[in-house]
């Protein structure tokens, strides 16, 4: 989009030059063209620029911006979903699927991965629509992929995940990393987990320990390579 604007301008300039004496190299502006009014609100920036700004935010700030108004909500959700898209099926397998109503999508399917999360917590996350058939109250029970017969790959519905579910997923998986990293070789662990959550997690960990920045740069290529396969093969 950015390039399109520029190309248009180049064409515009070129057209002006072609209509003028090349020797004078002085271009005239069509008087009907007016500069836009002064922009005083972030909201007036075009989507492609806002997306770039969002790219530079960490997950927490994206979530804050998400609630500013409906347009930012939409842009931020797309950003969050792109990150979720990279979830590695080999890690905390995809687990849940249900329908909800939200502001932007009505009656959509939510998928997420909650393997290893206590049922009590899981039920609380799911709210009233939770499928009680597979809920075993009172047991020290953790979510398992086997409880679902037909889990759907998240890439099929990647743009339709509730961000509250996304958030808890990120938070728990991030915590899982933090806990495990205390006793595990960092690079070895991260290489096993080829998902965008690494990106998010590393952002969090960046704030805890500067060393993770180096770790991140070592595994970017591998993450991306795996992500590409993971995202599209099940579409």
């Amino acid at each position: 989009m950015i390039r399109l604007v520029c190309n248009k301008f180049c064409s515009f300039i070129a057209e002006i030059w072609s209509r003028n004496d090349a020797k004078s190299t002085t271009a005239c502006v069509n008087s009907s063209l007016q500069a836009p009014k002064l922009i005083t609100s972030l909201e007036f920036l075009p989507d492609e620029i806002l997306v770039e700004i969002i790219d530079y935010l960490n997950q927490f700030d994206v979530l804050a911006l998400c609630l500013a108004n409906s347009r930012f909500h939409s842009l931020c959700m797309n950003k969050l979903f792109k990150r979720v898209l990279f979830i590695n099926p080999q890690w905390h397998q995809i687990l849940h699927c249900r329908k909800l109503n939200t502001l932007t999508n009505t009656n959509y399917t939510i998928l997420n991965k909650f393997e290893g999360i206590p049922w009590d917590k899981f039920k609380f996350c799911m709210g009233e629509e939770f499928d009680t058939d597979i809920y075993q109250e009172g047991h020290d029970y953790y979510v398992r992929i086997d409880d679902y017969k037909e889990p759907i790959h998240p890439t099929d519905q990647f743009n339709q995940i509730s961000y509250q579910l996304l958030w808890i997923s990120l938070r728990d998986i991030s915590q899982a990393y933090i806990d495990r990293i205390k006793n595990t070789k960092i690079i070895g662990l991260f290489k096993k987990v080829a998902c965008s959550l690494v990106d998010t997690t590393v952002e969090i960990l960046d704030q805890l320990q500067g060393t993770f920045v180096k770790v991140k740069s070592l595994i970017l290529d591998e993450i991306y390579a795996k992500h590409k396969d993971t995202c599209y093969k099940n579409r």
């Binding site: 180049c10 020797k23 007016q34 500069a35 927490f60 108004n69 502001l103």
Partner: protein
């Protein structure tokens, strides 16, 4: 023989006479000059731009400051979500702080987009992102003059979801 100059003309008629290398910080202007076949200018050239004078002045100031700096080429293969924002210099911070105080921050970013000055665009976006960091939704709205267009029902629904972020 003195090198020819490039005259940039703002939408409100203000003119800025700059060296060719300063003007060519803008890929758009550079392409336009090359397209018009006046590379290695033999005569002064005038280029009209759809940018207000006070905004163009700041853009020219930035281009003048970085006229000899070589910026890294963008990596086409880089994964966007894994990219890192550019590092802001003290000069950049001061530059954009002044722009923000003068209500021109977004204008500069728009102008950088229009003129295809990638580094200025990236630095501007990074500055906005840095200003957002650590702020609540309400603070972001206030800081950047973002109207809340949610209905009370919608806002209540969003806040119900928002509890998970606390």
């Amino acid at each position: 023989m003195a090198r020819p100059k490039v005259t940039l003309v703002s939408s409100d008629g203000e003119t800025f006479i700059v060296e060719q290398r300063v003007a060519e910080r803008s890929i758009t202007i550079k392409s336009a000059i090359e397209f018009a076949g006046v590379d290695g200018l033999t005569a002064d050239i005038e280029i009209p731009l759809l940018i207000e004078g006070k905004v163009l002045k700041k853009v020219v100031e930035w281009c003048e400051h970085y006229k000899t700096t070589k910026f890294p080429e963008p990596d086409e293969n880089q994964v966007d979500v894994l990219s890192r924002p550019p590092v802001l210099t003290k000069w950049d911070n001061k530059f954009f702080r002044l722009c923000f105080e003068q209500d021109m921050m977004f204008e500069i970013i728009m102008a950088a987009n229009y003129l295809n000055i990638n580094q200025l665009l990236h630095v501007g976006c990074t500055t906005v992102a840095n200003m957002m960091k650590g702020n609540s939704t309400e603070q972001i709205r206030e800081l950047f003059n973002v109207p809340n267009d949610f209905t009370p029902e919608e806002e209540a629904a969003i806040k119900r979801e928002d509890r998970w972020t606390k």
